[in-house]
Amino acid sequence: MFSKALFKQSMKAHWVKWVFVTVPTCVMLAIVIIVLGNLGINDIRDSLKEIFVQADQESTLKEEAVDGYELYTTTTDFYGVLSPNASLIGMLNSMLYQPAINEANPTTDEERNAVRQSVAEQALGFITGGTLPGFSIPEGLDEDYLKQFFVYLFAAYDTMTSNGADTSNVDNDQLLINAYTNLVADMAYSQSIAEEGATEDYAQTRADGAREIANAAITEYKGQQTAGTLEDADFESLANEYINNYIYQETYDLIYQQNIDSGMSASDAETSASEYAVMTKVIANTAITTYQFWINERVNEATDAGTDYDLAAIKTEARTNACQSISDQMPEAVAEALSELGNMDIYGLIIGSIFYRIAGLLLPMVFVIMTANSLLAGQVDSGSMAYVLSTPTKRRTVTITQMVYLIVALLAMYILLTVTSVISVFIVGGNNFAINYAEILLFNAGAFLTMFAIAGFCFMCSSLFNRAKYSLGVGGGLTIFSLVCTILGLFGSSVVPSAMRISAMNVFNYFSMITLFDTVSIMSGTLDYLWKFAILLGIGIVTFIIGVFRFEKKDLPL
């Protein structure tokens, strides 16, 4: 079944070719992996990715700025309306809330809260009903919001009087401020949890921030009042300026702390933090200015046209527009293309789809085409097969020996390639490299199985034909055709970014055996490649078997 002498003869006949194919392929592979590993071609990808991460951060920053601005101006509006009526509002406590508490005499927080809710309802009724002279709901102020405020008012009243303080001597203005800032903080907290799904810590930070901004706004208002410049005060500009500085300080503190934590010197940490903070300040300013501009434009348009407008809706729209990041502003297709480019795996493309499926297959293919041909058809055509077959050597022994030689030569080639690739990956950082050991081993296994199938096919052709030109023409021709189809098909395959992809070219992939070597599946971690590997193995086995059996039954012109 196996002839050692013939195997040795085949080795002697083909080893030079083998060396001249294996060594350059190994060198090529090593160069590709090592050069790519050191160049860091993924830098481009990473920087693109960074843009999108930054864009996300930018959007968040802008939202924070616009929300802060909105809170600041709302606060000044709200406080401007309520503070003149502070004593009147304070009366709600003594006249409505205190008696209700005395009557209901709640023992738990829930019961007390229920009382607050019902009294707030009652108070709102008085205001809307005009029972409370000199106070009307200011424009743009939501009734529910006001009612909510009353609940907080009563709570603040409870807090201020809890320590047995004199109920007649409550500072109504302070009560108002306490109630309002508590409300604002709680709203920021629950909004943060509900909308952004933030952690409790983060939500608390947001609540503290909201309280700080509201306090600042009220302080500013009071300052203007004391200075007597309330009439001329431009709270919108003041809000913008305050928020800019607020964001600046927030960023500065954060970055400074990070820098110090990462072991930077204090002065370097300061410089870098301030640089970054200035940038965020500019971004915040841009967002707020855009926001203001958008609202003014829409309101002016509506006023000029004499139509009604929904300020809340305009504000929502303005917020969306003002908080857009770079990627939001790009046309969708461009943004998608860039995003895809950012997510593209260049190593997978070059090493997997280009080296292992195309460049690295070419030389082994040439070896297999030439060797498979000369193992049978070439020797039949020239007549040299006569010497082997005139000895007591079965034809099946000849074919099996030649088949074993071809497979062993390929296997040895790919063992060397595997060793080369593993060493190269080790040199460029092992599993930290974009392609890990498991993936590189699968690439080698896939390339070997592809060559195994091709070798089987070429061997079958070599067995079927008595003339080398037909064996080479059919076996080699179709093999090279497969490779060319893979090259053309690459431009239509999913590994090429959509901006460069010509989907119609994908049809070429259906004409190529190499398509069954699914590098994309290997890189993406799906298991599709396994059944495709099985098919390649099957093609190889079937074609080799056909080759072995056909040769036994045919006429040989020797």
Binding site: A5, K12, A13, T391, P392, L556
Partner: protein, 304 residues
Amino acid sequence: MSVIEINHLTKDYGEGRGIFDINLSIEKGEVFGYVGTNGSGKTTTIRHIMGFLQAQQGSATVMGFDAWKDSVEVKKFVSYIPGEIAFPDLRTGTEFLKAQAELLGLKNMDYANYLCDKLQLDTSANLKRMSKGMKQKTAIVAALMANKDILILDEPTTGLDPLMRETFLDIILEEKEKGKTIFMSSHMFDELEDTCDRVAMIQNGHIIDCVSMNDITNTPTKTYKIEFTNREDFVAFKHTRFKIIREQPQYNQVTITIKNEDIAKLMKSLTKYKLKFVAEIEYTLENHFKDVLKKIKEKESKNV
């Protein structure tokens, strides 16, 4: 039992090419010549004996083994020199002979070395750069070194210079001496004449004749050409009882055939004349086959 037995062997390649109903039987120790023009079917017959081709009809057996089905058994008795010399992709002749010895399971190379010496072959030469003659010699050594009982030689002397051909024919005679059965094809009659016991001629795929060399060399009649010095003797001789098959009066020549037992009579009678020369015209294989071909042609033209 015959060593090589071919019965009704037919392989039709179409358009009149191929071999048709070949029947041959070669005995042990016999040297059998197989002669025919190029493309007459010599190699096709040999390929069947070697088991490279499957017969359409009939069979070829060697030592009782079917050449196609039991080709491995057959190869245990047979050495082969192919008609077309193309060596495996190896570097030198030595390397090739070693590889071939390994395939044959041959350990002792003494006989191979003896053959190389006899053929004056330098096996260390590069196989690719060998001259045609050197290649042929290498092929001869590769086939004969195994010292098997049956030799199948397809035009073994092509490419050899006349001296080497002589050497080769010597070797064949040596082999014959050892009792080997040899099947040798050629398109040259003289080399078959010197070595063969029997010769078959194939023409357009059909065996047209098979003769024993003994019958050719030991014919019951001999042919002589006689030239006389003068006209008178020439005319006088014509009136004797000897059978004249041809006369060339311008040279005073006659050609006669005569039974072997009458040769003494002839010699006696010739003493009466003045002769320029008496030459025996040998009956060769070539003459024989020419006669056969002539007869066939006459037959065909009669039929038409």
